[in-house]
């Protein structure tokens, strides 16, 4: 049967979310001839719709439904209602991401083994490793068009990168380059080359950056096997008396509750919404929420430790020109406990436009200390710290029954306390980042606090033993065979790398598993 599918068609795979996980899974399944209904809470925007204006774009794309925060992380003070900077639209946060596409390092798949006992951390080894993932990473890099893979060249470095490179090399760093980016460095098919326009975070108007919104989603739809319903906000996953999921209830664009039946349900709503949905789907059979016999749903929330460093110089840099994430220093990504922490971090160029710089440079700051920094905006260079933060059981997404969303559903509360390892690593990264800019003559350096999280991970984690996590090595929940998790919430640990490439690789792999299990009659 071809799309669109009937609400009572219980042969379809329902995917909730259309970003790096859900969008890719939807296309991969559709290509294999499997019927898919993808439900997306947001609207549909294409490159011609994207707005190169930070606040206007934020209003168009960002997930700004009510959420609450708690814990000692500064985001809870600065942006109490906005724990995450992620997207509500077809394509999810692949519209907003910067494009950095890095594979995990070998040791990062086994953090419990390689880092040893870290007090307060709930470290666990992944049930998969680099060798298992290598062929899926190959497919992911090819799909995304990742520079410096498959013989494709790196992107040219912009001004912001040149400052980073000069400073990093002056410090003796060696792994300094313009990154492995899912941004076209050559002409190919429908995606044209990067035009160095900036505004990567606001959706690439050239389509040069990979986003599932204008690649995988339309490719999947073209098969006739994929139906994407936008403005479809899933409220609850339903199950039968045997504990198998049978469909999902969602609010459509008119706010009317609909029921789509399903053979399999795959949850890919990001690490805040995915556990929220499992918890909001609690029933008399599963009083603690679906797939939660381990009690781990919502726990081990990770966000990368993050932070930024901006350097001010006596001459112009104009960091906003060109690719936002234009280059990387990888020397500190290694695991070397001599530095006073386990795991490592990447330093990647970043720039914000003036409006967002005013909002994020020192939230709450005012007076001349603040404004003289902004006065030098044209002379600033910027970098972002992406480091492995520790999974902690108490860092978690829970339901806040005191606050409800526009549909009357309890919202997610995001609780996060920095682990001492996170603080030690961030301090180290600030020091190195400032030294990089000092080495090329910075007159002032600004160690900037973390922004609302874009890398949200770990809240339905993968584990060998059903006692330790929510899903097995295929993203299939330990408790319910036909319920899958397909986004970054299945991450067992965060590693130092931007997560999208790994989410995509896991989704391609999951599609293979799903199709094989379905043809064997196991699902």
């Amino acid at each position: 049967m071809a799309a669109p599918f009937d609400m009572n068609d219980d042969s379809v795979v329902v995917i909730i979310g259309t970003g790096a996980g859900g969008g890719v899974l939807a296309n991969e399944l559709a290509q294999k001839g499997i019927s898919v209904v993808a439900l997306e809470a947001g609207g549909r925007y294409m490159p011609e719709d994207y707005i190169n204006d930070e606040w206007e774009s934020f209003g168009q794309l960002a997930w700004t439904d009510a959420r609450t925060t708690s814990g000692d992380w500064r985001v809870a003070d600065d942006f109490s209602g906005l724990p995450a900077w992620i997207v509500k639209a077809v394509g999810g946060t692949t519209t907003h991401w910067a494009g950095a596409s890095l594979r995990f390092q070998e040791h990062e798949w086994k953090p419990a083994t390689n880092y040893g006992e870290v007090q307060g951390a709930n470290l666990l080894d992944w049930p998969i490793d680099g060798a298992e993932m290598a062929p899926w990473y190959d497919k992911a890099e090819k799909k995304l068009g990742v520079t410096r893979t498959n013989g494709w060249p790196g992107l040219p470095g912009n001004n912001n990168y040149k400052v980073l490179e000069a400073g990093a090399k002056a410090l003796g760093y060696e792994e300094v380059h313009t990154g492995r980016m899912a941004i076209m460095s050559h002409e190919d098919g429908d995606r044209i080359m990067c035009q160095q326009t900036g505004f990567c975070f606001q959706g690439c108007k050239w389509g040069a950056k990979w986003s599932s919104a204008y690649t995988d989603i339309p490719e999947g739809e073209a098969t006739g096997n994929l139906e994407v319903r936008d403005h479809a906000h899933v409220a609850r996953i339903l199950h039968d008396d045997e504990g198998k999921v049978t469909g999902v209830e969602y609010y459509d664009a008119d706010g009317v509750l609909q029921l789509q039946k399903a053979r399999v349900v795959c949850v890919a709503g990001n690490s805040i919404e995915s556990p929220r949905l499992l918890l909001n789907s609690a029933s008399s059979m599963f009083p603690d929420g679906l797939a939660n016999s381990s009690g781990q749903v919502g726990r081990n929330y990770m966000r990368h430790l993050t932070g930024s460093v901006y350097g001010v110089f006596d001459k112009p840099v104009r960091m906003w020109r060109g690719t936002t994430m234009a280059g990387i220093v990888q020397d500190e990504a290694r695991h070397d406990p001599e530095r006073g922490f386990v795991g490592g971090y990447e330093l990647e160029t970043l720039s914000l436009g003036l409006p967002f710089m005013a909002a994020f440079l020192d939230p709450g700051g005012w007076g001349r200390e603040f404004t003289t920094a902004l006065d030098s905006y044209e002379n600033m260079a910027g970098m972002w710290i992406v480091g492995e933060d520790m999974p902690q059981e108490t860092n978690r997404v829970t339901l806040n029954h005191d606050v409800t969303d526009q549909f009357g559903l309890p919202v997610a509360n995001v609780h996060y306390d920095d682990h001492p390892n996170d603080i030690a690593m961030r301090d180290h990264a600030y020091k190195q980042g400032m030294a990089i800019y000092d080495a090329v003559g910075a007159t002032r350096v600004l160690p900037t606090p973390p922004y609302p999280s874009t890398h949200n991970l770990g809240t339905n984690r993968m584990s060998e033993n059903p006692r330790d996590g929510v899903v097995n090595k295929h993203g299939q929940t330990h408790d319910i065979a036909n319920l899958f998790i397909s986004d970054g919430s299945q991450f067992t640990s965060g590693a130092a790398e931007n997560p999208t490439l790994t989410i995509v690789a896991l989704a391609i792999r999951q599609a293979d598993f799903l199709s094989s299990e379905m043809s064997k009659g196991n699902l």
Binding site: Q195, T197, P316, R318, T371, V403, N413
Partner: protein
């Protein structure tokens, strides 16, 4: 433990600021050009002196000597409304009372920024101060007319990006 979405970049604030800023732009540039205080006299709900004090307060919170008064006026013009007048007047009255406590006739009578900032530091936890400060983050810096003062060029897509226009033109490294 949990905090409701009361401050920061909530959707509600985002939208209210966006519409306030948008409405202010309609007033157009040059409406304060006639004389120093002409824009203050054009208030509809706030006492002109209260509004003038609010504008000074805005500049003292985010002082940029190269940004003209006009942009600060636009940033706070949204408070000159029936629903805001009472709270704003009360806040400005508190500011003046604090100035009088220091021996000045009013906040506007304090000649040195340093003295005015001391008053503001004393009230920076107040709802009034945080409301004005928070609103300025978008109300001031999201005005396209201030961007060139910082050298910021805004969107470049309509010009074909920077691929041929200096994305890598740095020459001092």
């Amino acid at each position: 433990m949990t905090k409701p979405a009361m401050r920061g970049l909530t959707r509600r604030e985002l939208l209210s600021r966006a519409s306030a800023t948008g409405a202010s732009f309609l007033i157009g540039s040059g409406f304060i050009a006639a004389s120093d205080a002409a824009w203050a006299a054009e208030t509809t709900h706030l006492d002109p002196k209260v509004f003038a004090t609010l504008v000074q307060m805005a500049r003292d919170i985010y002082p940029h000597d190269r940004i003209p008064d006009e942009n600060y006026v636009i940033a706070v013009k949204g408070y000159d409304s029936a629903e805001n007048a009472e709270a704003i007047t009360a806040g400005i009255n508190a500011l003046n009372a604090a100035a009088q406590g220091k021996g000045f006739a009013s906040y506007l009578d304090m000649g040195w920024e340093k003295d005015r900032v001391e008053i503001l530091r004393g009230m920076e936890e107040s709802v009034f101060f945080q409301r004005i400060r928070g609103g300025l983050v978008t109300g001031l810096y999201n005005q396209k007319t201030v961007w060139p003062i910082f050298g910021y060029e805004g969107e470049s897509f309509s010009k074909g990006g920077y691929i041929d226009r200096g994305f890598n033109d740095i020459n001092w490294l």
